[in-house]
Symmetry: C2
Subunit: 257 residues, 2 copies
């Protein structure tokens, strides 16, 4: 499965009441997932927790013990509800201090007199943390061991991922094949299960889609099939069997939209 | 905080490789959050896990022990990667069986000969589970104790929430006030923290937004402030202080877009 290399794993932790109240739609998990995919790192879990210190601490400690990397988003601004730096400090048992380089970066950005105490809070990081710069906003994120702490604003978070990339151990890339089939998944499910059994090294995902009017019939209009795996020979072999299966049903394979 | 009533809590559990690979953008967490908000139930945590039985079992057991309700999405279709029913059975230590009513519902939907063994799998639920019907697709979800198991397709999941609603204990509604302010949050952060301290019964969220060109300056163009709480008098009192604060800075309150 990993061609002899160690599998590199990750978790995402989205911090913020606004996600759990349904006011803000999270898009950061997907961005992190695709970013990691390009590096051969598996995003294995994602969690959203509220702006409550104990909840953040518990989640960070559970995830950092289990996965190679943890990526958090949110809660590093200047206001009272931005408590991520303190929570990460508590999770690691580290004091939280003003980082001199972050102080300098931020001080240079504000007009004289505008770099107030609250804005200086954005320079607070757990002792020994390294900064995560970003090309969009000057306020940095930070890294403590295997935990990367990023902003919640999507554009800023994306820019932080660029700064993080060179620090990450890359894994073996996952190869994938996508097929769109004009058959309801229930018709091909049995044959698909057999293909999956014959190719245990790959995972075959089956996702129904519905015609314009929605799933009123209860029967999908078609199915997107995704073969994923690190052994390209196996991915291709499973993919070839899917192509044969679909043709046996007299259906067409369509390019994925 | 809860005016004498017990707080009703919930967690969402999104099941599926497609979310963690970044191929599919989850929208179900937000839908569940807003649905629960209208019933006065607090969504306290959300998790995304892959299509791996042990992961689903561990997450379900952690969440159902901790929160009043758990809502899962995904993994209840007819294909080999739909393993949620078995995972829920395992989590509760219950055998998984074909539910007679679900079998009848599904059998009536398919053309003769089309209700194959794989499609019959959609009628499998843990022993004693009650069905969750939906007006969109005939394939049901199911409820075991405080865990509600729903489809991953957003339209179908939404229809299942309608069927679930009468089964839920409602909580005290959270009242909220929204303010949009043309001030960067760093300028009002100190005063805002004081308002939060004076009104511990409410939570004040501060969310920066940026001008069209994005957060290039590193300084937000404005701030959305959200006051939330179950004591309306306190919500209004904190809101009034925010209005006074904003005017003191010579800025305008704008209607929320």
């Amino acid at each position: 499965m990993d061609q002899g290399s160690k599998r590199i794993t990750a978790a995402a932790l989205v911090i913020g009441d606004e996600i759990l109240s349904g006011r803000t739609q999270d898009v950061n998990i997907g961005t992190i997932a695709r970013f990691l995919g390009r590096l051969g790192i598996d995003l294995c879990e994602a969690r959203c927790v509220p702006d409550i210190e104990d909840e953040i601490v518990a989640a960070v400690n559970a995830l950092r013990a289990r996965y190679t990397y943890v990526f958090t988003t949110g809660g590093i601004g200047p206001t009272h509800d931005d408590i991520t730096a303190d929570a990460i400090g508590k999770a690691f048992g580290l004091p939280v201090e003003h980082h001199p380089e972050a102080m300098a970066l931020l001080a240079a950005r504000y007009a004289p007199g505008e770099f107030n105490e609250r804005r200086q809070r954005m320079a607070r990081v757990p002792k020994g943390a390294s900064l995560i710069r970003n090309s969009v906003s000057v306020a940095p994120g930070f890294q403590v061991e295997n935990v990367f702490v990023m902003a919640g604003v999507p554009k800023i978070m994306q820019a932080m991922l660029e700064d993080i990339e060179p620090r990450l151990t890359h894994g073996v890339l996952v190869k994938s094949r996508f097929y769109t089939v004009r058959l309801p998944e229930g018709r091909i499910a049995a044959a698909l299960a057999e293909i999956q059994q014959r190719h245990a090294e790959v995972t075959i995902g089956s996702y129904p889609f519905f015609s314009q009017g929605g799933p009123q019939s209860g029967i999908s209009a078609g199915t997107t099939l995704i073969v994923r795996g690190r052994n390209e020979v196996e991915v291709d072999a499973a993919g070839a069997e899917i192509e044969t299966l679909v043709r046996a049903f007299g259906a067409e394979l369509e390019p994925l939209k």
